[in-house]
Amino acid sequence: MGGIERQTVLPGVKLSCVYTDKFKNGFFSAYLMRALDADDAPKNAMLADVLRRGCMRLPDMESIEAQLDELYGASVSPVMRQLGEATAMGFSSSFADDRYIGGQERILESVLSLTGQLLLDPVTRGGMLSTDYVLSERDNLCDRIRSIINDKRRYAVMRLRELMCADERYGVNPLGTVEKAEKITHLSLTKHYRRVLEHSPLELFYCGGAAPERVERAVLDAFAALPRGEQDSCETEVRIDCGPTRYVTEKMDVTQANLAIGFRMGKIMYNPSYAVLTVFSAVLGGSPVSKLFMNVREKMSLCYSVGSSVDRQKGILTVSAGISPSKYDAALGEIMAQIDSCRRGDITAEELEAAKKYVASALRECSDEAATLDGYWLSRRMDGMDCSPEELAALVETVTAEQVTEAAESIKPDMVYFLSGEEADR
């Protein structure tokens, strides 16, 4: 497998189909693509939730859920993904393949039709979105924003991103702020909804056992009423350089401290290679034999979890670790020492091989999960790379130690963020 059929079915509407008969379920997603923006973020974050509350045919949650149960427990869920400085928002759904429930029903058509109705034909009064639904989802959004602190690691990484990229779109929290969310009304959200529907590229993805022609017909039926105008862009700005490293410590009542370090990928981003960036992150902190895992955790017993991840669209590498508050110097020192060892080319053949196998294997496995494939192809859409997971895995296998060293030499630490309950001994 791995083959994908991609076509423009309506102006600014691209449909990608992966045909495979190995699954017992179908998967479908519809994403409106928007640029990350401080004013729009809370509106984007709550829009699909408001639309999911009801459409003209099924005007409330109970009738939608009853229909979904009737469709053998199909799901149609609001979903939001971040890709660099772009936000993808819409719905994703998973549903039984007709073949395994008697073969008499046409679940695919019903689910796509429901998705289209939720997106295009919401409950309105006088042309406006329902006040009740908007106010209730606005409250839910504010609660979600306030609850980000519940997950300390995620909170630390989010604060790093906000502070390090304070003057870039990337520094905008995708959920927005409570202050901005509280000002949303059913009028302002309706206006935003109309604009988004008309001016956003729409990405559709299907994976399952239905032939692409059948999917295309169902899509054309479901999305025929989509208004189309000029498309807004949602590109990501890459910042190559940064000044001297900034250090920030914030306090919270926690027993475990969290360290998050943000690096600019540097000049390598002039001509970024997906394969090289990913292998570099895997060598450094992406696997159980990575330098960070082997040294910060296994050798020095400083933490339970430590790792790195790279945003290839934005060109930022993030390293994070949960540590004892008194081990700040030791952990930071060791993380930097491991990056230095990559810079010196101190990468053994075993380390490189393990990292490449790890990344290649994860890519090949991604064809076995429709939701993962969905994210994969959406990312390729954004970085303009048209290659399958299998082809990318083959590219990964050609990465050399010199290329990894070059990536390590290129990166610069921009900010060290520390979330701690006690005064760190600095």
């Binding site: 497998m1 495979t20 008969d21 190995k22 699954f23 017992k24 379920n25 409330d60 949650m61 109970e62 859920e65 009853a66 979904l68 149960d69 009737e70 053998y72 427990g73 199909a74 998973s94 549903f95 039984a96 393949d97 073949r99 395994y100 429930i101 209730s136 839910n140 609660d143 979600r144 609850s147 980000i148 602190i149 519940n150 300390k152 009542d253 926690v254 027993t255 475990q256 696997s287 159980p288 034999v289 082997m294 955790r297 296994e298 017993s301 933490c303 979890s305 949960g322 540590i323 004892s324 091989e353 393990a354 196998k357 790890y358 290649a360 294997s361 994860a362 496995e365 076995d368 999960e369």
Partner: protein, 426 residues
């Protein structure tokens, strides 16, 4: 190996038992790239007191989990590294009832399977290596202490039970793990990592016979005795405490309420009890219920709300939870609704729809090799094949579910656990 055909589901399950008592299940998945292996012992966080030759032995809380961490140590070095270097993604976890060792890979399955079977069969500990792990597990425990979702569950179980070991955290405490040394680990490995107390489950595009042959060659531990375990005195239906609260930095309060499900006869009947419990939760307060819709519309709950069942050795709990400003009100609504619950035409229609939804949800699990291996291992220890689940669901009557609702969600059976920000709930 014998084949068991499930024609309607389009699946063939292979099952075999080695002379030393090891049970093997293989669910082939044609066309999948991912190959998955799961080797589990019927030994988890709750198994701390057991009888050997008439003598009761007590072990410290967290020992099964500590053993899991140290199993990766081999005379040749780290099994984790060996697997990763050969392209596998290895991992392990300890639940209340089992310890599972696993990997996924795309290439080199047989080599990786050999490595897995060999290291789990080979205890190799030194006091030095055991001592070194204290820092790592200590940070894992601290990470859990800062996690409100984990804290709210632990507290609920503490409120429900006065003796059952599920009250204690699976990883133990800093104090309890300080008592663990190489000798205690050797003893527990000998007692519980005995082929007759273990199961091997594999899924992916693999040959069942090869799996069986490799297991027969590699798992050479002798068939051992199965020890009687003690999970405390049988407890009555009422919770030990009605309410338990803790303050932590959270946005919205995190809550979980629940009641004890009494363990009956085990085997297929126990699985029917658990499935009935799940259907009852869905019927009373699942996303398609009038109660859910009403509480959502009133802003009492949001999309984080869930209701379901958690099982562990000789017990289970029916629970509901999420993020919510007024948990006590949610609890009151649920118990009132449960007391008034009657079976009319509407309920019968909903029950019929829920059965369709459960079939669809089960089809979804079938697409995941991981899910299939985990559920086969757990259900093997329970004595019931999971692919028979659909027949069991068919046999559940709405009267069974209604009786469960009336019994389990009456006010006196429920306990409430709440985590809220300093300053208390709103």
């Amino acid at each position: 190996m014998k084949a068991i055909e499930y024609e309607k589901l389009g699946e063939t399950l292979w099952h075999g038992v080695l002379e030393n008592g090891l049970n093997i299940y293989v669910l082939p998945k044609k066309g999948f790239n991912k190959k998955y292996a799961f080797f589990a012992a019927n030994y988890g966080g709750c198994d701390r007191r057991f009888q050997v030759n008439g003598q009761w032995t007590d072990t410290p809380a967290g020992i099964a989990h500590y053993l899991e961490h140290k199993m990766f140590d081999m005379p040749y070095g780290s099994a984790m590294n060996r697997l990763t270097e050969n392209g596998a993604s290895p991992n392990a976890f300890t639940s209340n009832g089992i310890t599972g060792y696993l990997f996924s890979c795309t290439d080199g399955f047989e080599t990786n399977l050999h490595t897995l079977l060999e290291y789990v069969s080979t205890p190799y500990f030194t006091d030095e290596s055991v001592a070194k792990e204290q820092g790592i597990i200590g940070q894992e425990i601290r990470m859990g202490e800062d996690n409100p979702s984990r804290a709210v569950l632990n507290n609920l179980l503490k409120a429900l039970y006065s003796e059952h070991p599920v009250r204690e955290q699976i990883a133990g405490t800093l104090e309890s793990i300080a008592q663990i040394n190489a000798e205690t680990l050797y003893t527990c490995h000998k007692r519980f990592y005995n082929p007759a107390n273990m199961v091997l489950c594999c899924s992916g595009d693999i040959d069942p016979m090869t799996v069986e042959q490799l297991a027969a060659e590699t798992v050479t531990m002798p068939k051992g005795e199965l020890y009687v375990r003690d999970y405390g005195e049988q407890e009555g239906p009422l919770p030990a405490r009605v309410r338990i609260s803790r303050e932590m930095p959270v946005g919205l309060p995190v809550f979980m309420l629940g009641s004890k499900i009494e363990y009956g006869n085990g085997g297929r009947e126990w699985i029917k009890d658990l499935l009935t419990a799940q259907m009852a939760c869905d019927l009373l307060m699942g996303s398609s219920s009038p109660l859910y819709a009403d509480m959502y519309a009133k802003g009492l709950i949001n999309s984080s709300f869930y209701a379901g069942v958690m099982d562990f050795p000789l017990g289970a709990a029916a629970m509901a939870g999420g993020l919510c400003a007024a948990p006590a009100e949610v609890m009151a609504r649920i118990s009132t609704e449960a007391e008034q619950f009657g079976i009319g035409d509407k309920e019968r229609t909903r029950f019929r729809r829920l059965k369709k939804a459960m079939l669809g949800n089960f089809l979804e699990e079938l697409d995941s090799p991981e899910e299939m291996c985990h559920i086969h291992a757990e259900r093997h220890f329970d004595g019931c094949l999971p692919l028979e689940q659909m027949d069991i669901i068919d046999s559940i009557e709405i009267e069974d579910a209604a009786a469960f609702i009336a019994r389990q969600f009456s006010a006196e059976r429920l306990a409430l656990s709440v985590i809220s920000a300093p300053g208390g709930e709103k």
